[in-house]
């Protein structure tokens, strides 16, 4: 249901507060470069072309830049997400067939609030309301892969082209893997109790005012940034050291296009790494400067967020091992192909 945008008096105040914060944010963001350069080179007095000077300037500039960007983008995404509950997404997907259903599910995966800890109730709620298994999987793959923190960090450190490429390949992988899983007719590999639960329709629905949306978005900025800031700083610190000290193209041999095994190795390495996605991107951005290739780096990123061990363990409650294996296999192969494709084309 779409409710008309109505602003009440309290909404007006909340919107005003957001506008003031936005102005402060913009001033801080534009002052960042001159201030950090002054800090690194004039106040601390590091030489501009020294290893330490370059590492310091990189660190001092990137940490506040990424944190500012992360806060602003998560706020905006969270506002959008208050319009898309999992319940609403389920209603939109109900009655869709394979194909178009997979495309829609993958796209809704971007805007629907999702946490891997809710994967089980979401899975049960989707399949028992009659959404095809493959369509459900398209959603379950897209939602974590096109993760807001990953996208914002890619945008901040690599630019919008690569962030866009990442979103497009995430969508493609989710659609293709979902279609394949659907074609394999693996319904019998869903744990039996799921099918025995009574079919549930409707469910929870809330009516939100703009004050609620803003305060919820602000809450999720605090939650998410509060959870990842340390990883971001640690990642940028390691990235800064690589930036200042590792010689150019040092990594071309092991992480460059010539090393054929680097893409599958990156995917395998990404499976056990999970919550550290925030810390991983600054490091890979520095690695790329030193000769690692884009395809390898993106494959690694997607594997980190899309194939996570904790999520597999959670999903084991509703999926039999065969289906989990097919899930990991399909998504893994799709990521590897994407990685090679980028290495080939770019």
């Amino acid at each position: 249901m779409v409710h008309p945008v109505k602003l009440h008096r309290s909404d007006g105040f909340a919107v005003l507060k957001v506008a003031i914060v936005a102005v402060v944010w913009w001033v801080a963001h534009s002052a960042l470069q001159p201030v950090t350069e002054w800090l690194a080179y004039d106040l601390i007095g590091l030489a501009r072309n020294s290893h330490l000077g370059q590492s310091m300037a990189f660190f001092l500039y990137d940490v506040p830049k990424i944190l500012l960007l992360l806060s602003a983008m998560i706020f905006l995404i969270s506002i959008v997400r208050t319009f898309f509950s999992p319940e609403r997404t389920r209603a939109l997907l109900g009655g869709r067939r394979q194909g178009i259903g997979n495309v829609l599910a993958a796209m809704l995966g971007i805007v629907t609030p999702f946490c891997s800890c809710s994967a089980v109730p979401l899975f049960i709620g989707f399949v028992e309301s009659g959404i095809p298994l493959g369509v459900t999987f398209s959603f379950l793959i897209a939602a974590p892969v096109i993760n807001e923190v990953a996208v914002v960090l890619l945008y901040g450190l690599f630019g919008w082209r690569i962030a866009g490429l990442y979103i497009a390949s995430g969508l493609t992988i989710a659609i293709v893997a979902g279609v394949i899983i659907g074609r394999l007719h693996m319904e019998r590999y869903v744990e039996d109790f799921v099918w025995q639960l009574p079919a549930a329709q409707g469910g929870f629905e809330e009516h939100l005012a703009w004050t609620d949306r803003i305060s919820r978005a602000w809450q999720s900025v605090k939650d998410i940034v509060g959870k990842v800031w340390l990883y971001v700083i640690a990642g940028i610190a390691v990235g800064a050291v690589i930036h200042g000290y590792v010689p150019e193209s040092a990594l071309a041999g092991i992480m460059g296009k010539q090393a054929w095994w680097s893409v599958p190795a990156a995917v395998l390495l990404g499976i056990p790494l999970y919550s550290n996605a925030a810390g991983v991107i600054p490091i890979v951005s520095a690695l790329m400067e030193k000769g690692a290739s884009l395809g390898t780096v993106l494959a690694f990123m997607m594997s980190v967020v899309g194939l996570s061990l904790p999520e597999m363990i959670i999903l084991r409650r509703v999926l039999k091992p065969q289906l989990i294996a097919v899930f990991i296999g399909t998504v893994g192969v799709a990521i590897i192909i994407t990685g090679y494709l980028f290495n080939l084309v770019l």
Binding site: S85, P86, E87, R90, P113, F114, C115, C117, S118, V120, P121, L122, I124, G125, F126, F193, L197, P198, A200, G202, G203, F204, S215, R216, Q219, R317, V318
Partner: protein
């Protein structure tokens, strides 16, 4: 006596929600029993798609988020008023 259920299987947010609820209950001196429901078959009876869920006297109040202490206090007061009515 209110019956409060926290739906969700041991996720970090479920624990946080339980802590917040316990805090509000203690502060307001509400008489309530707090139950944790972790079995998915049981959780799904409340038709939620995201955890944690908060149920007060069999009514689902929130899902997929941690409501503010003010909201929880208001819901508790409403449920108590309904019981005594």
């Amino acid at each position: 006596m209110l019956n409060i259920k926290i739906l969700g299987s041991g996720c970090a947010n479920c624990k946080r929600l339980e802590a917040v609820v316990r805090k509000v209950v203690a502060e307001k001196g509400t008489e309530a029993e707090i139950e944790k429901v972790t079995d998915y078959a049981e959780v799904m009876k409340y038709r939620i798609l995201s955890t944690p869920g908060l149920v007060i006297d069999e009514k689902l109040m929130s899902a997929g988020r941690i409501p503010s202490e003010t909201d929880i206090a208001r819901w508790l007061a409403q449920a108590s008023a309904q019981q005594s009515a």
